[in-house]
């Protein structure tokens, strides 16, 4: 934000901070590069050295930095640029010229061949980022306390959005997104309670970030704040190989991206997993390689954090089938116990995949899935009626996501096939 020559550039840069605008993007410390599609035929090429920072863009704008540079920097600061990628010719030549003119004789190292100096510089940048994030989260916590003192009824959405913008500057994009979601909550009967709970969980995150040391909780907290792990790093970890059954799929339009959530369960290990696919906002997802009911022998590599859930699809070995497979289904009390257990590891979790056997029934809160003991989970979402229609009141194996609102059913196992709802 501080780099922007004026507020118009800031706004324009913000608009370009979307993955859909960029191609051939990459980041190899300290070089950041990408191509941005403008109104002309040829995309504008952008290169930035984040140390100084210095930058170069092929667009004809007379503003420095231009909106393309700002857009790329915003995108990078929000974790939208993965480490690696093929360094564009434009960026390489520019960096070499810059080094020559600065009198250094270092040659550009590839992203995976760094000198000790570069490693140290990277560590220093990481430490600076950690400090920026810590400062940002501390400021968030103070802001939250201020809202509690003044009264939530006096909190204006603009104030929350301003605080969210400062969190983006502090490179804590996930926390910023959550705060913007709270600011956008519709007024109504539950508004006060929802805002209080939202602020309370952000306060918990801020405090956890201050006090977390090393270990699995630290990874979870960093993920919730907005630190990302590159897919390449995840794929470099040891996978879990299993016959993975796709039990559900859901598309959601989020702020700057459309996300497809795909739920899987390991048919041999019972391990649950979630794989995400992304598309530009408002665009339909391309055909997913994972479809509900599909089973495949594959490697899943899990992202850091506890409980382990999000994964990246690695090597696929063969298609599989459900022949003779009996899933381990839980009772309602077992599902609740599992949910509470994972919630204890990640209090900000919104859903967890489960498999249970039950039949649809009626509860004081509406439709529910009950087991043989009469204990039940409230059903919610747009899959309730398809579930009722498919099961006809009879018991069935139901796959779904359990969360604070109850169970969102995603599919049913019937006649040896998984039928998506």
């Amino acid at each position: 934000m501080a780099l922007a020559p004026d507020s118009a550039s800031q706004v324009a840069g913000r608009r370009l901070a979307r993955p859909a605008q960029w191609s051939e993007v990459g980041w190899a410390d300290p070089l950041l590069w990408g191509s941005c599609q403008g109104s002309g035929k040829t995309p504008y090429t952008v290169a930035v050295d984040v140390t100084t920072p210095t930058y170069r863009c092929s667009c004809p704008s007379r503003k420095f930095p231009c909106k393309h540079v700002l857009g790329l920097l915003f995108l990078w600061s929000e974790g939208g640029v993965d480490t690696g990628g093929v360094v564009s010719d434009f960026a390489t030549k520019w960096a070499q010229r810059a080094q020559k003119s600065s009198g250094t004789s270092q040659t550009m190292a590839s992203p995976h061949e760094r000198t000790a100096e570069q490693i140290a510089a990277a560590a220093e940048r990481a430490a600076r980022r950690d400090q920026r994030v810590s400062d940002g989260m501390a400021e968030l916590d103070r802001w939250l306390a201020d809202q509690m003192r003044r009264g939530l009824a006096a909190t204006k959405p603009d104030q929350a959005r301003d605080m969210a913008a400062r969190l983006v500057d502090a490179q804590a994009p996930a926390a910023a997104t959550r705060l913007r979601e709270i600011a956008a909550m519709p007024q109504g009967q539950s508004w006060l309670l929802n805002v209080l709970q939202g602020f309370a969980l952000l306060h918990l995150l801020a405090r956890a970030h201050q006090t977390s040391g090393s270990g699995p909780m630290r990874d979870t907290i960093r993920m919730r704040v907005g630190f990302t792990t590159s897919r390449d790093d995840v794929l470099a970890t040891a996978p879990i190989r299993d016959r993975w059954l796709v039990t559900g799929m859901r598309d959601a339009d989020e702020e700057q991206v459309s996300v497809r959530y795909v739920w899987l369960v390991g048919m041999d290990t019972g391990t649950p997993a979630q794989v995400l696919f992304f598309a530009p906002p408002g665009h339909s997802q391309p055909t997913s390689p994972l479809q509900p009911g599909q089973a495949l022998d594959a490697d899943l590599h899990f992202y850091p954090g506890q409980p382990q859930l999000r994964a990246a699809l690695g090597d696929q070995h063969a298609a599989s089938d459900l022949q003779g497979w009996e899933p381990e289904s839980m009772t309602v009390d077992q599902v609740i116990a599992v949910w509470r257990h994972v919630l204890a590891a990640d209090p900000w979790l919104n859903e967890w995949p489960v498999t249970l056997r039950g039949s649809v029934g009626t509860s004081p809160q509406g439709w529910a899935l009950r087991d043989v003991t009469g204990r039940a989970l409230r059903l919610h979402g747009d899959t309730v009626w398809p579930l009722i229609s498919l099961t006809g009141g009879d018991p069935a194996i139901v796959f779904g996501e359990v969360g604070p609102d109850g169970l969102h059913a995603t599919s049913v196992l019937q006649d040896g096939s998984v039928i998506p709802l």
Binding site: R149, L196, P347, W385, G392, G393, P404
Partner: protein
């Protein structure tokens, strides 16, 4: 109120003026509430309570009575795959036009009903939630035991069945409710229906009286004659004009008798055997008032005569009368036409012979189409040729309004006529649209092949897309029909 509600009440106004938080018995031991920064303490307490509440998701529930087993089978998978192309609410598939997709979907669901097969359970809810009411209605009829069970549950998707109208709707309802009640009652007890009408006739407003008269005139019984006859003297013009269409449908009514009495003066033969038509004198009671033109009075009298009555009155059948020559006419003296009245009479009395005679004499009228045998219509179209389908005239209207699906002969005749045109672009768009959805399912594939072959011989017609769309619709309908006909419902009945 829970602890969280209490905390929310505090949070609403703020902790600045407070010295302590309210008692929070469930978390007192874990979270201090009296010392330190109250705002932070409140956030700490809210966080703890929030996490706890997120974990409290269990409840109890009563079971549902399970659905009875199905007695009908499902259609073949290929049929369902084709049906999904027209029942989806998003774009795409081979048929781009939404209304066409709806029409094809309803047709296919109707075929399922005729074939006694039901929807697979996973298809029921999406179809009951379809944006188009006619699709929802059609789907409901083929949703089987599961659909009936489902739609009886509270809050179920789809349209609830219309409640049986009650007498309160007649006595206190709106005009629409009163008409609805009357329609239902006439179907089961026409006499009581007329008694109710008579009871409040005098005080009913003219608009309602006219609507009731129209309702009765649409499907009159002999016992309705007195009522309709009295309507001819009603104080409101709208009521008076609504009665004759009903009286015309009662061949033995006094009204028809009076019209028959006018025939000798209306139609005479001169010494050369030519038919001379003389308009009747104005008669306000029989709705032949002075405000009508002479031709209109001729038409009304002729329209009221049942085709079978002409022989008795004139010695000529209606068909012979149609063929009888008239005197030479000039622009100054065009004479009076019997044709408009004869067309109306053929349609209202569903007289096939007269309808065919009119068609063969070159009088094309869409009102006659339901009564013309398929072979006759096909022959007449072949004779008229492709030029008849190149202008927005009566042939196009006849085809677009003909009951669907068209008979096989008509479907093939239309296809042959179209493909005989030197340029496909010359054919009216309405004909392509009608062919696509109205061609008989048995011949749809043949029609599609004929059009495709013809299209291939023409280089880049201007309306190529529209023609290709019609072909795609025909092909899909043919697939739906063919795949459903392979299903043997009786062989797949599930054991109960």
């Amino acid at each position: 109120m829970t602890d969280l509600d209490d905390l929310a009440a505090v949070a609403a106004v703020g902790t600045a003026r407070r010295t302590s938080l309210p008692p929070l018995p469930h978390i007192t031991d874990a979270v201090p509430t009296r010392s330190g920064d109250l705002a932070v303490a409140a956030l700490d307490a809210a966080a703890a309570l929030t996490v706890v509440s997120r974990g409290a998701i269990g409840t109890t529930a009563e079971s549902l009575t399970a659905c009875s087993p199905e007695t009908q089978s499902e259609p073949p998978a290929e049929f369902m795959s084709a049906l999904r192309q027209v029942t989806g609410t998003t774009g795409g598939g081979v048929i781009g036009d939404y209304q066409t997709r709806v029409a094809v979907a309803c047709e296919a669901l109707g075929w399922m009903h005729d074939r006694d097969v039901r929807l697979p359970h996973r298809e029921i809810v999406p179809l009951l939630q379809h944006p188009q009411a006619q699709v929802r209605r059609a789907a409901r009829l083929v949703s089987g035991q599961r659909g009936r069970w489902l739609t009886a549950l509270p809050g179920a998707p789809g349209d609830p069945p219309a409640p049986t109208p009650s007498i309160e709707e007649w006595t206190h309802g709106t005009s629409a409710q009163q008409l609805n009640y009357l329609t239902n009652l006439r179907a089961v007890d026409p006499q009581q229906a007329m008694e109710l009408v008579a009871q409040q006739w005098k005080q009913s407003p003219a608009a309602l009286r006219a609507e009731i008269t129209t309702l009765i005139a649409d499907n009159p019984q002999p016992t309705d004659e007195d009522f309709l006859e009295n309507c001819l003297s009603d104080r409101a013009a709208s009521v008076r004009s609504a009665a004759p269409p009903g009286l015309e449908k009662l061949p033995n009514s006094g009204y028809v008798g009076r019209m028959m009495d006018r025939i000798p003066a209306l139609i005479q033969a001169d010494v050369k055997g030519r038919v001379i038509v003389t308009p009747p004198a104005p008669d306000e009671h029989d709705q032949l008032g002075k405000k009508l033109t002479a031709q209109d009075r001729v038409t009304r009298v002729v329209a009221a005569i049942p085709p079978a009555g002409w022989k008795r009155a004139t010695g000529l059948t209606a068909t012979e009368l149609l063929a009888a020559p008239g005197p030479a006419r000039s622009q100054k003296d065009p004479g009076y036409q019997l044709i408009p009245g004869l067309v109306h009479s053929a349609a209202s009395h569903t007289d096939t012979d007269l309808a065919v005679a009119l068609l063969e004499a070159g009088h094309i009228d869409a009102r006659l189409s339901p009564y013309i045998p398929a072979a006759v219509m096909a022959g007449a179209l072949a004779k008229a040729g492709h030029k008849a389908l190149a202008k927005a005239g009566e042939w196009v209207r006849l085809l677009t309004e003909h009951p669907r699906p068209w008979p096989e002969e008509v479907s093939l005749a239309v296809t042959r006529t179209i493909t005989s045109a030197p340029k496909l672009d010359a054919i009216q768009a309405a004909v392509w649209a009608a062919l696509a959805v109205a061609a008989s399912p048995n011949t749809a594939a043949q029609c599609a092949e004929g059009v495709s072959a013809r299209l291939a011989r023409e280089s880049q017609p201007k309306h190529g897309r529209m023609i290709a769309a019609a072909t795609a619709t025909l092909t899909l309908r043919a697939t739906l029909w063919r795949t459903l006909m392979t299903c043997q419902p009786a062989a797949h009945r599930e054991e109960t």
